[in-house]
């Protein structure tokens, strides 16, 4: 099911009478989610990603704008008539029902022509349980399950009525690190097998990058960039996106462009094209540094962290916006741990130049 958001806006009126500023949680979203894809809504807390999800589910009404599932305008439909499955951050399983009853619940609520025979319901419940691999736990209560198992039950409950769209709200945030890796693969597998258009919300960029077909990066209710994960990483449209994606995070310097040359401090570090002379912000990915005795960028070496496959060099530079610069280089390079200075040359495709005023990408 293709999902289209058209000028979708959500404004929360101020609750405080003395301070009537409204909160624009979602500001004029327009984008189309292609059929059968897994989409990650990514952003820091308060960026409107959960609100977007709730509007897609029908639990919140948009202030303006429309939502389409395929050709159907579903904006006015209540959640029960919208045919979506929603997995909550805390799973929201019914604690007094067994796993089986939890999964059956959405089916028992179907009305009219969708109404199912009892056997058909059971058959579908067991099929779905098999899909998420909890068919052995059907008689347990949610309190007798681990977090990962509860998560699967929640997904099964959302999937069992074959929703047009599956929505996941921070699906991995309550799991421990190991289970998180495993579960995100699992979500990807389930999504591939069912081919249901899936939208999930996360603030964890690694999570979003690893499983999404498309990432929507959001900030303060405004969409920043929509693209494939690698494309967003390689070509951030602005400083926010560049900073938000990538671990370790991007290194940010104050710099300037003069006569098609990029300067950091007084050092001429890179040739650039089509950028007018101005003060700029320079972002360099950790992997964009090359250790080079004659390199243009000099930094004060403070520490070298050996990680086996590669080496992380921690250094400082007066023009860096962060207290430290972290660069990752191949472990084959020989580094003099005792020296005070370290010099780098830069990989041009890992260097981004942003306008100092608008923070938009210039190069």
């Amino acid at each position: 099911m293709e999902v289209t958001l058209q000028n979708l806006t959500k404004i929360f009126p101020s609750k405080n009478k003395k301070d009537p500023t409204e909160v624009v949680a979602v500001n004029d979203f327009t984008f189309t989610i292609p059929d059968g894809k897994l989409i990650g809504l990514l952003g820091p807390s308060g960026c409107g990603k959960s609100t977007t999800l709730y509007m897609l589910s029908g639990l919140q009404k948009p202030t303006s704008g429309r939502i389409f599932f395929g050709k159907d305008d579903v904006t006015e439909l209540t959640p029960e008539n919208r045919g979506v499955g929603l997995v909550f951050q805390n799973y929201a399983l019914y604690p007094h029902m067994t796993v089986k009853q939890n999964i059956l619940f959405p089916l028992q609520n179907l009305k009219g022509e969708d109404k199912l025979e009892k056997e058909e319901m059971l058959k579908r419940a067991y099929e779905t349980a098999k899909l998420v691999q909890i068919d052995e736990l059907m008689e347990r209560k949610p309190s007798e399950l681990s977090g990962g198992q509860q998560q699967r039950v929640a997904i099964a409950r959302a999937l069992v009525k074959m929703p047009r769209v599956l929505l996941l709200d921070e699906p991995l945030s309550n799991l421990d690190a190991r289970l998180r890796l495993q579960t995100r693969e699992e979500i990807k597998r389930i999504q591939r097998e069912t081919k249901i258009t899936t939208i999930f919300v996360t603030h964890d960029q690694e999570e979003a990058m690893s499983i999404s077909d498309l990432i929507v990066v959001m900030k303060l209710g405004v969409i920043q960039q929509i693209d494939k994960p690698q494309a967003v990483y390689d070509n951030p449209v602005n400083l926010f996106v560049a900073k938000f994606l990538g671990t370790p995070p991007i290194n940010v310097f104050n710099g300037k462009v003069l006569n098609n040359e990029l300067y950091i401090g007084e050092e001429k570090v890179l040739k650039v094209e089509n950028v007018a002379d101005q003060e700029v912000i320079v972002g360099i990915r950790p992997e964009g540094f090359i250790l080079d005795k004659n390199g243009p960028l000099s930094c004060n070496l403070s520490n070298v962290e050996v990680m086996g496959r590669d080496v992380s060099i921690v250094s400082t530079n007066p023009n860096s916006q962060n207290p430290i610069i972290r660069s990752i280089i191949d472990a084959d390079n020989e580094i003099d741990h005792e020296s005070e200075k370290v010099r780098f040359s830069l990989k041009p495709n890992k260097v981004f130049i942003f306008s100092k005023e608008t923070e938009k990408r210039l190069f």
Partner: protein, 297 residues
């Protein structure tokens, strides 16, 4: 060899310590149970005395030195008590009033608690605060105005006068609302996405989750109906509508003005049986309800 000896000595030490611990533990247990038994005797003595008295003849009952076991066991007292006091009718009336008022009261309590806990409407908080404020007024103060109202409506001597005035209990609404509020909001949202209406959500999710509280309310309400005295005494004159407590009060006064206490005791014992059974089988829920109301009420 040396090491072995050391080990055995160590083991002996350990054994001594553990023996001492055991003795202390047993002593503490003995003291604890002695105390509990003493308290139980104090609590149970009135019940024993009730049954003891109910089996005596009137003459034996009047002995200046009370006997701890009846010389002649008078089972007839129970039969006489049942007939003299017309206990069958009284039981029926009390059960009828108790069951009907409990059911209606539960419906009202559940629906209003749901509204206050879950629905959004204008003036919700003010209305709720107003309801809570009525709890400040002692119940006795209502009696006179309520009496005025029901007699003006011509409701005296009827079942409805025994049922209707006490259907709404702000305390139960409050109790249940607090319970409902503890149910996470996500469950409601999940149920919405799963396709339920508000009422169905209430029935399928909230009521099962709040069941212990509802059972507590049912028990408390039933016991309240069973034990109510002042109001039924005030609004019913005809035998037909008498409840058990009032019936017992006057049934055993003989023409001479004497009261046949053994028979009255037998009647009281009969009347206590249902409450006793309720307590035995449902004490878990009673304790829960009471302790809960202790925290929040």
């Amino acid at each position: 060899m040396k090491i072995d000896e050391n080990i055995t000595m160590h083991q002996q030490d350990m054994q001594k310590v553990s023996v001492r611990q055991k003795v202390v533990k047993i002593l503490v247990q003995v003291a604890l149970y002695a105390f509990l038994i003493l308290m139980a005797i104090i609590v149970l003595f009135p019940f024993y005395w009730m049954i003891n008295s109910s089996l005596k003849t009137l003459d034996e009952y009047r002995l200046s030195v009370p006997t701890f076991w009846p010389h002649v066991v008078m089972w007839e007292n129970y039969v006489n008590a049942f007939n003299t006091a017309n206990l069958g009718r009284l039981f029926f009336n009390t059960m009828y009033v108790g069951i009907v008022s409990t059911i209606l009261s539960l419906v009202i309590t559940v629906l209003s608690a749901f509204a206050f806990a879950r629905l959004e409407f204008k003036g919700k908080n003010i209305l709720f605060a107003g309801l809570l404020a009525t709890m400040m007024i002692p119940g006795e103060l209502f009696t006179i105005t309520n009496y005025g109202t029901v007699s003006a409506w011509g409701w005296l001597d009827s079942y409805r006068v025994l049922i209707v005035p006490f259907l709404v209990s702000v305390f139960y609404i409050y109790l249940l609302r607090q319970n409902f509020l503890q149910i996470p909001n996500e469950l409601y949202l999940a149920a919405k996405v799963d396709g339920t209406s508000d009422l169905k959500y209430l029935w399928k999710v909230m009521i099962p989750l709040a069941l212990p509280t509802l059972i507590s309310i049912t028990i408390l309400k039933m016991m309240g109906a069973w034990n109510s005295y002042v109001w039924p005494n005030l609004v019913t004159r005809k035998e037909k509508y008498r409840l058990i407590t009032n019936g017992l009060r006057n049934a055993f006064t003989e023409t001479t003005g004497d009261v046949n206490y053994p028979q009255q005791m037998a009647a009281v014992a009969l009347v206590s049986i249902p409450l006793f059974l309720v307590f035995i089988f449902l004490r878990k829920y009673i304790m829960k309800g009471v302790s809960r109301s202790g925290i929040k009420g």
